[in-house]
Amino acid sequence: MTKPKPDFLAILRTLVRQRVEFIIVGGVAAVLQGAPLSTFALDVVHRREQSNIDRLLKAVETLEARFRTPGGANRKPNRSHLSSAGHQLLMTRRGPLDLLGVIGGDRGYDELVRETNEVRLGSNLKVRVLSLPALIRDKEEVGRDKDKAVLAVLRRTLEEGQKPQT
């Protein structure tokens, strides 16, 4: 089976072009803030308001998104999926994309947006990224082994980033 070469920047450009309100969370958020981690999917929390879901539906159509869960290869995400608090695990022509209704202790876009940093990716692309302290708190709350495994790297990245540059 042919797998797309991950191009997270292209996925982000498509979301921004469609004016989707979203927050980058998970491993890509950590990497953007300097954590030396690896991740295979771009995780975003989207605003679950109807006009935003309309824009997100257009974006996932452009990206030819399909579910990557068993039996989902031909299933497209619909309005009902994107309106839910659940996690939609998708494969797009630009790589894996996870659309998350809520994360951690049931926090959605409106709760998380206060804890984001605006990050510029090139000259005309700005995205919202969940801050390292909020990422650490969410991983502590969830407490799965895979979350605990990266906590030390996230905490040390936060410390190093707060040191004055020499």
Partner: protein, 62 residues
């Protein structure tokens, strides 16, 4: 400058200046300092190159 060389420079600087190389919990601080020296786009490119390498090593068709 190639990114590998940049990272070596960070490790050398740590040795010369008595900066710590590892944290008490075993995290490689030179890697963090190297990542922090990059722009966000460069960090994303590091991740994408890593994923592409893994795909190649696994023999995935892209």
């Amino acid at each position: 400058m190639p990114s590998g060389t940049m990272r070596t420079k960070h490790a050398e600087k740590a040795l010369v200046s008595n900066e710590r190389i590892h944290s008490d919990d075993g995290v490689d601080l030179t890697l963090i300092r190297w990542m922090l020296s990059l722009t966000p786009v460069e960090r994303l490119k590091v991740l994408e190159r890593h994923l592409a390498s893994v795909q190649r090593l696994r023999g995935d068709k892209t």
